[in-house]
């Protein structure tokens, strides 16, 4: 057995069900809104009605006179009492620029919905009503609402004190691109636009801030990153971090929406200080829908030979990140470019990402994190090659995949750890009945219907490490066995509802030879858990799980040493299993007796280790992280790369543009699987989210910069009737660079779904000579593409 592999790895026939299932199933989940605190007061925010304006002044008397109102706080006043919001990850870390962002805007507003003032009242309804009464005088400034327009000289400035609207340009390149395009037999171009859309977790954000009599700030926050949020709040209030406690209760979904960096976070803490009472605020659905992501347009060119082998690739990605803000969102523009050239061996490529500010609400992280945008562009390009040469789309991918023998495989910005892309695609084609889909497409077309089959392959960089900010590729876990032999795991990674606490419990139980129910996993409290970077980038098992396994192994070593004394044998003869300590071929004792033996006998018995049964370990897959460029100028900020292949079939109604998804299958390689139930759930959910983004979800704005999508009535997420049964499978190539051989699950699947559906729809309308690469493929957009060629 490979000693580095987790004992819980994988193929357990009977993996445990989700932790806390009984609580969640019986309505006892204890989400943020369920927390009961005496003396609670409620906040509401006054938000800018203009996409861009100078703030001239506030009139608050009417609001202050409203019944139940305790305090009105304007941006002016807040600016004197609280510092700017620290960045989740500043663009300056990659050579870009930024500006100060305030919790409540004091002088200039950059987007509709930006908080400029806030009200605290004894009742949430009164707070909302009084917020309506706050009058703000604005000098309206010209907004810029489109990234291409924003890049032109003479365009309005999104931030009036900047000289232009470009935050940063990042570029990744390799090989002689000019030469590749000049000598290539074929060159094709396309523009692929992915729309602005977010993640819409069913539970919106929420916070309860309070100041304890001892001067400590305690914040309950539906956040994915309690420790970095603590750091940010401490900086804003100029407090030592020890004076701030952030507690993240159970989250009702997150998907990046609950990364920190929001203006409300600091504002609520200030309000609580001013009213000397706990203050609660729940994000309304319309507030949640302000949060953008992903709006990118690719100007793409691909050079290839007669056999469909890619020779060169160019892409210029214009990313409309809205008003930047302090959240993680803009980083998606960086990751989108970095993800190129995906799973393919491309000898020459030049990809740039332009991060452009406009007067729309800022982005936050969104599952996929730009990788879906890269995947969509790449997979469209590969399909264009196939169509141009009349080759099978799967065959063109085969001809360009990085072969399984070539790993680890360097590109300019990453070292791909392991994989067998061909095998993953073949499995997906088999699972999706590809020949059958092609035959059914033939029949449908013969009957005069628009039917299409789409394939996509997704490469998903996971576990990212970004020095210079608090978004790192390591994490820390503590494992502790008490005198009764029960185990507590405290970890810096958090669960947004995915169930990683179940898998971490499994890993630790297996390392210690104790039953799963004996292990408790604690997350999300900065007073309790080690400093950690929370949830994101499919990092929880890779990093928090890895750290927990290392810590469990240290505890195990102490147990084994003590057991050798208790059972009078060589440590090599000790086995721990099923809550029992076994001496090879003889005596045994319950693990609880051994734990008690250690606690009660050490020091008194010189051979029993004088150490508590506790260890804290950090873990990073540092072997595959490279931040200082090597001799070839290459770096790698992601240690591992999951991947997946997707096959789907659609029908398109020629007269309405309506797309019906007829079948869907996908196979992923997320490395070693610890809990197949959880991993399957992640993949299914990611695919559903990708399909939603491909077909319906869109956070539109009107031409005056006002958001149009403000509820689930005009922002359409998939419902049960919109999705077909999805078949999923796995192919495992362990990562050689992560402790557990895992590659990360959770994020993978979004990107492939976006691209596969887009390819299928384009395949369906191809007989008309139509093409659509403006997402989403909603009925109006598809119909427009059809009408362009059939008019």
């Amino acid at each position: 057995m490979d000693l580095m592999r987790p004992r819980a790895a994988a193929t357990e026939s009977d993996p445990p069900r989700r932790r806390d299932g009984e609580l969640i199933l019986s309505g006892r989940g204890d989400y943020l809104d369920d927390v009961r605190i005496p003396g609670l007061t409620y906040a509401a925010f006054v938000r800018s009605p203009h996409p861009h304006a100078r703030v001239r002044g506030f009139r608050t008397a009417a609001a202050e006179a409203h019944s139940g109102v305790l305090r009105v706080l304007t941006g002016r006043e807040a600016a004197e009492r609280i510092g700017p919001i620290p960045h989740f990850f500043s663009p300056t870390n990659v050579g870009g620029k930024t500006t100060d962002f305030e919790c409540l805007a004091s002088t200039e507003v950059y987007y509709v919905g930006q908080p400029v003032a806030a009200v605290v009242a004894t009742d949430p309804g009164d707070a909302e009503a009084a917020a309506e009464l706050v009058e703000v005088d604005y000098d309206v400034l010209p907004p810029v609402l489109d990234a291409h327009q924003a890049l032109q000289s003479g365009a309005p400035q999104a931030f009036s004190h900047w000289d232009d609207n470009l935050v940063v340009r990042v570029a990744f390149n390799e090989g002689d691109v000019a030469e590749a395009f000049e000598s290539a037999p074929h060159v094709l171009r396309d523009r692929v636009k992915i729309q602005r859309y977010g993640t819409s977790p069913l539970e919106p954000r929420g916070y309860i801030a309070q100041w304890n009599p001892d001067g400590r700030l305690v914040v309950r926050a539906s956040t994915q990153m309690p420790h970095p949020l603590r750091s940010a709040l401490a900086a804003m209030f100029d407090l030592p971090e020890t004076a701030v406690r952030v507690i993240a209760p159970r989250l009702g979904g997150a998907f990046g929406h609950k990364f920190h960096g929001y203006p409300e976070e600091g504002a609520l803490c200030l309000l609580s200080r001013l009213v000397r009472a706990p203050v609660k605020w729940l994000e309304r659905r319309e507030d949640a829908m302000l949060v953008g992501a992903r709006e990118m347009e690719h100007d793409l060119a691909i050079a290839f030979d007669d056999e469909g082998v890619i020779l060169g690739l160019r892409d210029s990605i214009v990313c409309d990140v809205g008003a930047l803000g302090t959240s993680a969102g803009w980083g998606m523009a960086f990751v989108a470019a970095m993800t190129f050239p995906g799973p393919y061996r491309v000898p020459a490529y030049d990809v740039e990402s332009l991060v452009v500010v406009t007067n729309k609400a800022p982005w936050n992280g969104a599952r996929g994190f730009g990788k879906e945008s890269a995947c969509l562009a790449l997979e469209r390009a590969v399909d264009l090659v196939a169509a141009e040469l009349s080759l099978d789309a799967a065959e063109v991918r085969r001809r360009n995949f990085i072969p399984s023998t070539a790993f680890p495989y360097w590109t300019a910005s990453k070292r791909l750890d392991s994989g067998d892309y061909q095998a993953v695609l073949d499995k997906a084609l088999a699972l999706g009945d590809y020949p059958e889909l092609v035959e059914r497409r033939r029949q449908a077309r013969a009957a005069g219907r628009l039917a299409g089959v789409g394939i996509a392959f997704e490469l998903t960089p996971e576990g990212g490490d970004f020095p210079g900010g608090l978004a790192r590729g390591f994490d820390t876990s503590t494992v502790r066995m008490d005198p009764a032999g029960s185990v507590t795991v405290l970890t810096g990674v958090t669960s947004p509802g995915t169930g990683n606490e179940t898998a971490i419990g499994q890993l630790v139980a297996a390392e210690l030879g104790v039953s799963f129910d004996r292990v408790r996993v604690v997350q999300g409290d900065t007073d309790t858990t080690p400093y950690g970077f929370g949830n994101g980038s499919s990092r929880s098992l890779n990093l928090g799980g890895g750290a927990a396994v290392l810590a469990a192994r240290e505890v195990r070593a102490k147990l084994v040493a003590a057991a050798a004394v208790a059972l009078e044998c060589d440590p090599g003869c000790i086995a721990l299993d099923k809550d029992t300590v076994f001496r090879e071929g003889g005596a045994q004792m319950p693990i609880s007796d051994l734990a008690r033996f250690v606690y009660t006998t050490s020091i008194a018995h010189p051979a029993v280790p004088y150490q508590h049964l506790e260890a804290t370990c950090s873990y990073a897959p540092e072997q595959n992280l490279l931040h200082q460029p090597d001799s070839a100028g290459r770096t790698s900020s992601y240690p591992t790369f999951s991947n997946s292949a997707h096959v789907c079939a659609v029908e398109v109604d020629e007269h309405t543009g309506q797309v019906t998804l007829a079948s869907y299958a996908a196979v992923d390689d997320c490395g070693v699987i610890v809990n197949p139930i959880l991993v399957r759930g992640q993949l299914l959910g990611a695919i559903a989210m990708g399909i939603g983004g491909a077909l319906w979800e869109e956070a539109r704005f009107d031409d005056r910069g006002h958001p149009v999508a403000t509820s689930f009535k005009n922002y359409l997420v998939p419902r049960s009737v919109d999705l077909p049964a999805i078949r999923v499978g796995h192919h495992t190539t362990p990562s050689p660079f992560t402790l557990l051989g895992t590659k990360g699950a959770g994020e993978g699947g979004v990107a492939g779904a976006v691209a596969a559906v887009c390819n299928a729809v384009n395949d369906a309308i191809a007989p008309l000579g139509a093409r659509v690469s403006k997402m989403p493929l909603s009925a109006p957009n598809v119909l427009r593409a059809i009408r362009e060629v059939t008019k």
């Binding site: 159970r250 979904g253 947004p496 759930g681 419902r719």
Partner: protein, 166 residues
Amino acid sequence: MSKLDSQDVPGRRITVTVNGVERRAWCADRTLLAHFVREQLALPGTHVGCMNGDCGACTVIVDGAIVKSCLQLAAAADGAEITTVEGLGEPGNLHPVQEAFWAEDGFQCGFCLPGHLLVALKLAEQQGDPSEEEIRAALAGNLCRCTGYQSIVAAVQRAIRQTEGT
């Protein structure tokens, strides 16, 4: 003190039978059933996800009908019989519908769960043999962002099987 429990706004005392227990409580006239259940009756298992009737996380059963409690005034429920997710089963004694959702991994974050459980309960009680399409149609008013619905459909199918003949 929240106005929900104060009496300085127009309101009334109403009587409802919740999860088999008669409860009498005061509610402001403007109070929505979702907030009444969560705050006044202290049953936080009913979740609020959109306040618009779109997401279904606040689903309860009122006099036998599936109701989105964010769309109904509490005062309109005076005299009604209400089932919330807390009425199904509790830790250590889960209802078969809850067990089915656990067994099929029919939830992740759990925020949408009250709605899906109560729709499943209704389907299971009807003792029919719905097709997958019919199950999906029954769930169409309830959003889930985690599962892609597949495991929810499987859970409903299992719930129907497990409650057959009971």
